[in-house]
């Protein structure tokens, strides 16, 4: 493979990894909220969280641009306070990846946390553990398969992100051009289809392995729950 292809692969890995890292704490918090709490407006919040699943990714990218652009209501503050620019930057691509893959992560974590027996959490409380301590030492370890599955699925989804990424980060070779953007760019050339074969195969393998691992983890978590 060419250096351009390796650069796109490496950047995709970096963007997806950072995207998962960004969304993981929020994914755990929202997953727990959905699994354990009943509150007014829960259905609305669930709809908002799941929106990226059904919205056209370009539209998600547009909304991100409006919010996180240099003049956006969040982006302007990020730049003023932390000097952080997301537009036309790989960090913007990571944000797009995090947002688009977030519903998959939340779904896996919510299912995993819901299957943890609340009686075990009660037992931990009687043994002196605070609610946070109980969550960290009992709930989260018991839901670990679902959490890992959520991360792997989100990672796989992030690798394939195109529409939202191109809207906020553009397609700058070596800087924001991830695998799908690289392939799209190559297809504009005369030998595009032949020239993209190796990177296409490579990304199919990565996605398949990630998906397989994610599904396996999810099943392992589910089967462990039914046996306990």
């Amino acid at each position: 493979m060419s250096s351009g292809e390796w650069s796109a692969i490496w950047l995709s890995m970096q963007v997806s990894f950072v995207g998962v890292l960004i969304s993981l704490p929020f994914g755990i918090a929202i997953g727990w909220l959905f699994a354990r709490k009943h509150f007014f407006g829960k259905a609305i919040l669930e709809t908002v969280v799941n929106l990226p699943l059904v919205l056209p990714p370009v539209l998600t990218g547009y909304l991100l641009l409006v919010a996180f652009g240099r003049r956006g209501f969040i982006g302007s503050h990020l730049e003023a306070w932390f000097g952080l620019r997301l537009v036309f930057d790989w960090k913007g691509a990571a944000l797009a990846a995090a947002v688009v893959s977030f519903p998959l992560m939340v779904r896996a974590i919510r299912i995993a946390l819901r299957s943890v027996d609340p009686k075990l959490e009660q037992a931990a409380r009687t043994l002196g553990a605070s609610p946070l301590d109980t969550f960290v030492t009992v709930s989260l370890p018991l839901a670990r398969h679902g959490v890992i599955a959520g991360c792997v699925l989100a990672f796989a989804r992030s690798l394939g992100e195109f529409g939202a990424t191109i809207m906020i980060a553009g397609s700058i070779p070596g800087q924001t051009q991830t695998i799908p953007l690289y392939i799209f760019d190559r297809l504009q050339t005369s030998d595009g289809i032949e020239g993209s074969t190796s990177i296409v195969l490579f990304s199919v393998v990565i996605a398949a392995v990630a998906l397989y691992l994610g599904e396996r983890m999810e099943r392992r978590g589910a089967s462990k729950e039914t046996t306990t």
């Binding site: 037992a123 409380r125 009687t126 030492t137 018991l142």
Partner: protein, 213 residues
């Protein structure tokens, strides 16, 4: 230590528990048919359920006083609860299960080694709960409840799943611990022999009310 419970708890299903008692006995047994509210009562004392109105005290310590808006969190009540089901943490080995409470309530009392020896857990320490028999799991759960150096011990059917050969020895050990560390205990049991042997006070419940004391 005097333990007192005056309270009411109304479940969504319509079941109403309305109980008032006070005891300074070392071991108080709570008896009654299934569904009479014994386990609900223990859950209210442990803070796992919130009473509709109540005043629950253990000595000077107020667990709940709804009139004054006091409701102490379960982890701060410093009590040991042996549940009917063992509720062992499946991801932790036996040793870590027992140490879970010891780490959080370091004010020594019960000695780990002695606890493990008496309950014959030496060979089980490095195993996971899933690989244990029902009796073994129950012994570990008992060890874990006692390891928390409780100021009040709640035992919900403590000897049900324990093998006959061990039952007498474990009962003796629990009695000794209760005496040695002066732990007031509320014991829910259907086993009349155990109740007669351990308890000095007996409360009989039926349909959420105390019918005899």
């Amino acid at each position: 230590m005097t333990f007192s419970f005056h309270g009411c708890y109304l479940r969504k299903s319509g079941f109403c528990l309305e109980v008032a008692f006070q005891t300074d006995a070392r071991v108080t047994a709570i008896c009654g048919p299934s569904g009479s509210g014994k386990t609900t009562l223990l859950s209210l004392i442990a803070g796992l359920l919130t009473p509709t109105t109540a005043c629950i005290r253990a000595g000077e310590k107020v667990f709940v006083d709804t009139q004054r808006g006091i409701c102490v969190a379960p982890e701060k009540r410093q009590l040991g609860f042996l549940f009917q089901e063992d509720r062992l943490f499946p991801h932790l080995r036996v040793k870590t299960n027992i140490e879970y409470a010891m780490r959080r309530r370091s004010k020594g009392g019960v000695v780990f080694k002695e606890l493990v020896q008496t309950l014959e857990l030496e060979d089980l320490l490095h195993r996971f709960p899933d690989s244990l028999s029902g009796g073994q799991r129950h012994r570990v759960a008992l060890a874990r409840a006692l390891a928390s150096s409780p100021k009040l011990l709640l035992l919900d059917e403590p000897m049900t799943a324990i093998e006959d050969a061990l039952r007498d020895r474990i009962t003796t050990y629990v009695e000794r611990l209760i005496d040695e560390f002066q732990i007031p205990t509320l014991l829910v049991s259907h086993n009349r022999v155990l109740v007669q042997r351990m308890a000095t006070d007996v409360i009989e419940m039926n349909e959420g009310k105390i019918v005899r004391m």
